[in-house]
């Protein structure tokens, strides 16, 4: 390599990420997740403030289906396990295992979304809406649909995100050297699970 080329390589070579030596993308995802956590945090804090200031806020566990949502929580936890197993597979260079566990994770996400759609349609049928609530404060409906809807949009995004990797893998365009990309996608999916754990407690159980 000539001296000029060596100098160019030195200038163009990106410095190693200080917190995540694996990749800059992983640091980027962590920063995105921290920002996204603030969005959920603001929604939940707003929910708390409105509920505390209301005289006729219904007890959520009396009007929402806790059994169904507990099962949805179980599903997301299962999908987090299959996601870590997908990551472990690509780390072992087992691409068939990666595809199997990615597909199971996507299936878990789709089942979660299907159950959420069922829950929403059931509640809407009972009269709960963005501006109406047959059991008391109308803002109960507003906050319920906005918070669970915002989370559902994240699950939908995650399903699309993971599906893109499954398709790439099926087309042979995903190799064991892409392990960092799967790790970053896994971070996003676990975040969606983590947020649901909090939403389940604050919106359904408390």
């Amino acid at each position: 390599m000539s001296q000029v080329a060596a100098l160019h390589a030195e200038v163009l070579e990106p410095a190693e990420s200080p917190l995540t030596p694996e990749s800059w993308g992983k640091l980027g995802m962590w920063i995105f997740l921290a920002a996204d956590a603030m969005s959920f945090g603001a929604l939940l804090a707003g929910y708390g403030a409105l509920r505390y200031g209301s005289a006729d806020w219904p007890v959520p566990s009396h009007v929402l289906g806790v059994g169904l949502t507990a099962f949805m929580t179980f599903l997301l936890i299962c999908s987090s396990v299959t996601m870590v197993l997908a990551l472990a597979s690509i780390q072992r260079e087992d691409m068939a295992g990666l595809r199997k566990f990615l597909a199971l994770t996507i299936l878990g996400g789709l089942m979660f979304l299907g159950m959420q759609a069922y829950e929403w349609s059931h509640l809407i049928h009972e009269g709960l809406g963005l501006t109406g609530n047959p059991w008391g404060a109308s803002l109960f409906g507003t906050t319920f649909f906005i918070i669970t809807g915002f989370h559902g949009a994240h699950v939908t995004g995650g399903v699309i995100y993971l599906s893109s990797y499954l398709i790439r893998s099926l087309l042979g365009r995903l190799q064991p050297r892409h392990v960092n990309q799967i790790e970053i996608a896994a971070l996003y999916w676990h975040f969606v699970d983590l947020v649901w754990i909090l939403v389940f407690t604050f919106v359904y159980l408390l």
Partner: protein, 109 residues
């Protein structure tokens, strides 16, 4: 593109913990104890579950401390936000109550 080497956690063990805590959470809401105690227990259980996911599934336990600080910052800011909102709902009690909704004044012709 080096990958950080660390011993792989017992993911299935973490799964059983998460499942047990979820069942416990659902059981707590039916316990014949004060509502405040139920709330404290539920928040504690939820934070424990969230920590398990972050530490083991997101591998935060094996990352650098500074990355952990980035992850914890939103939680601290949200707690501040809750305190910042306190004066709001103490100043406007029962704001969302249907009974407290003001009736429209009669129009003068």
């Amino acid at each position: 593109m080096a990958h950080t080497a660390h011993t792989q956690p017992n993911y299935i063990g973490v799964f059983w913990w998460l499942l047990a805590l979820t069942i416990l959470e659902v059981g707590v809401i039916f316990m014949p104890i004060a509502r405040v105690l139920i709330a404290i227990l539920l928040v504690g259980l939820a934070l424990t579950k969230a920590s398990l996911v972050a530490m083991y599934f997101m591998h935060l336990k094996f990352e650098r401390t500074t990355l952990g600080l980035i992850a914890v910052t939103p939680l601290l800011l949200c707690m501040l936000l809750v305190f910042a909102l306190l004066p709001d709902h103490s100043a406007t009690p029962h704001l969302t109550s249907a009974a407290a909704a003001p009736t429209a004044p009669p129009r003068s012709r």
